[in-house]
């Protein structure tokens, strides 16, 4: 309610107050957008928006400033709340179920596919933005479209790539980070011998654990389901991937079995882990905390490519969803279009300093990807990701299997030698049957 009060006060003292809170250039952009936009907010419109708790303060501030500018220019008050993912996702689902709650939710993964009927058709906004900004990456489309309609906007993707220490890899004989799984195994073995091991989370780490476990399973052609959503996890390809994992596991740093999402960041920053997978947060923390030794010696790389012959990476989508139950669909569409217009979206990317990447091809040119070459790989996040439901459809079964760490546990079992590759694949397959009922 505070926001409304402030907003009303601002309205009263329109000119002076607005200039004090919103940068003039942003405000004038918002005003001209409000003039030209194909979507005119309904009179008396107001928007309630719920988002996840920001990773980086600068992104949160930039987004808030854009919302404020939109409010100033259109007179539509916006109330923005934020929640951690574990509260946000159930709230989003319940809002869909009861048809009331926030108008816009900025959520995670493919959650709109769990309640597609509650989503407002965003096709016109998507067509408008796609036409104006070089088109959407195919994976952005895949995540957002259902039955020929856009049920959400694939606002941004968070990249999860290889983080490595350059000097340690050079010592191990690799001037470039290996681009294939065989060389990658050699590198990891050499690093272990040199007393400088890498490590990948084997605990129930929803971000890093899922990213690396899916990468390795897919890299050898293993996958949970086929194009028709038939369960095909227990396959020779999956077993081959797990055999590879069983060779990779012994090269890891001690303690990986207990690693959750934060452990590899800490180990890497301390210098006790030379290769791991992560977003850009390790690099950002090294810079922020003045750990120049780490920041200067580290870099990011694409995931190595395995026998599957193509990138098999998994990055996370954060879609913007508008609910059918909103009383002000045009205001919501205008707001999301405004956020994704060049001036705002470029500012958003820059404020996100590589944590978050774009779904529209035109934003490849954003300086954030070139001003620091160590961020370069994150530019291709949306280009290179597969959906977590690969190669089947998004929905309840895929979401449940993903949340239940079935692939992560399978890979961990093989990596730690707790089960043979054959057993691990067969047991994981059996667990997944629960969701892909046979």
């Amino acid at each position: 309610m505070k926001k409304f009060t402030r907003r009303q006060t601002l309205k009263t003292f329109a000119g002076a107050a607005a200039a004090a809170t919103v940068p003039p250039s942003l405000l004038s952009a918002a005003k001209s957008f409000a003039q030209d936009s194909p979507w005119k907010p309904e009179s008396g419109a107001s928007i309630r928006m719920l988002r996840w708790k920001r990773f980086v303060a600068s992104e949160g501030d930039a987004t808030q400033a854009m919302l404020d500018a939109f409010s100033e220019a259109t007179g539509v008050p916006i109330r923005l709340d934020s929640e951690g993912f574990e509260d946000l996702r159930p709230k989003a689902a319940v809002a869909a179920s009861i048809g009331s709650g926030p108008d816009i939710i900025w959520t995670i993964h493919a959650d709109p596919h769990l309640y597609p009927d509650a989503m407002l058709d965003m096709t016109d906004v998507a067509d408008y933005l796609g036409g104006k900004y070089g088109g959407w990456y195919p994976m952005a489309e895949f995540y957002s479209m259902r039955d020929g309609k856009w049920i959400s906007l694939p606002y941004t993707f968070s990249g999860n790539f290889i983080n490595y220490r350059v000097a340690a890899c050079k010592e191990a004989g690799f001037d470039q980070f290996p681009d294939n799984t065989d060389d990658f195994l050699t590198l990891m073995q050499e690093l272990k011998k040199a007393g400088n091991p890498g490590g990948f989370a084997l605990g129930n780490a929803s971000g890093d654990g899922n990213s690396w476990a899916h990468w390795v399973a897919w890299s050898h052609g293993g996958k949970m389901i086929d194009e028709n959503d038939n369960l095909v996890l227990n396959s020779p390809e999956t077993v081959a991937a797990l055999e590879y994992v069983s060779k990779l596991g012994p090269t890891f740093a001690p303690g990986v079995a207990s690693w959750l999402d934060g452990h590899n960041n800490k180990a890497f920053l301390q210098g006790s882990c030379s290769v791991t997978n992560n977003g850009i947060s390790i690099y950002a923390a090294a810079q922020r905390e003045g750990l120049d030794e780490v920041a200067n010696d580290m870099d990011h790389a694409y995931w190595p490519i395995g026998p599957a012959g193509e990138p098999t990476e998994l990055h996370v989508q954060f879609p913007m969803t508008v609910y059918n139950h909103t009383q002000y669909p045009n205001a919501c569409k205008a707001l999301l279009a405004w956020l994704m217009e060049a001036q705002q979206y470029n500012a958003f990317l820059e404020a996100s300093v590589g944590y978050l990447s774009h779904p529209l091809k035109a934003y490849d040119d954003n300086p954030v990807w070139t001003e620091d070459p160590k961020r370069a790989v994150f530019k291709d996040t949306t280009l290179r990701t597969r959906p977590f439901s690969y190669s089947g459809s998004l929905g309840y079964a895929a979401a449940s299997v993903f949340a239940d760490f079935i692939v992560v546990n399978m890979v961990a079992e093989a990596a730690l030698g707790a089960k043979t590759p054959e057993e691990a694949a067969a047991d994981a397959h059996k667990r997944a049957e629960r969701y892909y009922k046979i």
């Binding site: 574990e86 996702r89 159930p90 989003a92 689902a93 319940v94 809002a95 869909a96 179920s97 769990l114 309640y115 084997l202 605990g203 129930n204 780490a205 929803s206 001690p254 303690g255 990986v256 079995a257 207990s258 690693w259 959750l260 452990h263 800490k266 180990a267 301390q270 006790s272 309840y396 979401a399 449940s400 993903f402 949340a403 239940d404 760490f405 546990n409 961990a412 079992e413 730690l416 707790a418 047991d427 059996k430 667990r431 629960r434 969701y435």
Partner: protein
């Protein structure tokens, strides 16, 4: 006169009679408490049981599927592992909490310097929010920077850091230790209250009769403490069996589900994974075990007449 009384009788009498009807008034007075129980206890419990028999997802009402969820769970290795973990966790932690708690209570019951201050300090682990203490243990158990490992290495007992949360059995022991640390104050302080209700005269009489310290403990302290022990241990078992936060913060149920409890698995599947029906089924599966624990302490350790100065039947 007679007819007058007769005529006005029912008029005045109906309300009066109703007001004087003990059964009716009893019922009326129970309505507030009863409805609170109904709305806040019976309904959620019933809803949980119902959800456990549906295929509901978060945000989507499910259809009735009978016992299918339970049938699946019986064949689910992760669920069965979580049942085993929950039992191990509850039994080991409860026994140690009881032993150490009783010992601590007896120590605190003696005249020691700064008694009030020390008693207050003992409560500290109980006062600290669980998530905070879990985070503290998370650091203590860190695979690289554990203080425990560091001290042992510096003292020359071990050569490399202990993998507290990475090895399945280490992880189980570690989370149990954290739970014990957190649970002892509750047991100790409650038993201390019980100890203080035991009349000193009993001990004096026993001493005069030549009873040893051990005899005084087994023949006076323990029997008179039994009702309190029953209550304390019932609660302690319930808290331990349903523990969630410690595990969720420290291990998320890992490594490879070695520390998944029924409560954490229920949350992982029901809320994070969205399979509300299955999550509810796991939670409902905890109820029989909890009922058994309550009944055990109710019948096994209930108040005996002789403890109140009467005769046993």
């Amino acid at each position: 006169m007679a007819s007058n009384t007769h005529a006005s009788g029912p008029k005045v009498g109906l309300m009066t009679r109703l007001m004087n009807n003990r059964n009716l008034m009893g019922l009326l007075f129970m309505i507030p408490a009863g409805s609170i129980l109904l709305v806040f206890l019976t309904y959620p419990l019933g809803l949980g049981v119902w959800l456990g028999m549906t295929d509901a997802k978060v945000g989507r009402p499910g259809e009735f599927i009978g016992l299918e969820n339970f049938v699946w769970l019986m064949d689910d290795s992760v669920f069965l592992l979580s049942v085993f973990n929950t039992f191990l966790y509850t039994v080991v932690a409860s026994i140690i909490k009881f032993g150490l708690g009783l010992w601590l209570a007896i120590v605190l019951n003696n005249n020691i310097p700064f008694k009030a201050f020390i008693r207050a300090i003992v409560l500290l682990p109980f006062i600290v929010p669980t998530v905070l203490s879990a985070l503290a243990f998370w650091w203590l158990y860190d695979s690289q920077d554990s203080v425990i490992s560091w001290v042992l290495i510096e003292m020359g007992f071990i050569d490399e850091t202990i993998d507290f949360l990475g090895d399945p059995n280490n992880a189980r022991a570690s989370v149990i230790a954290a739970n014990i640390w957190r649970g002892i104050p509750f047991v100790a302080i409650t038993l201390l209250a019980g100890l203080q209700t035991i009349p000193k005269s009993l001990y004096e009489a026993a001493t005069i009769d030549g009873a040893t310290e051990w005899q005084r403990f087994t023949k006076i302290t323990l029997p008179l403490l039994t009702p309190i022990i029953a209550v304390v241990m019932t609660f302690s078992v319930l808290f331990t069996f349903t523990d969630f936060q410690l595990i969720w913060v420290m291990t998320r149920g890992g490594p490879i589900n070695a520390t998944h409890l029924m409560a954490t698995l229920s949350y992982q599947r029901g809320i994070v994974g969205g399979s509300l029906g299955e999550g509810a089924a796991i939670a409902v599966a905890m109820v029989p075990f909890l009922l058994a624990a309550i009944l055990f302490s109710y019948f096994g350790l209930q108040n005996r007449k002789w403890q109140r100065g009467g005769q046993d039947d």
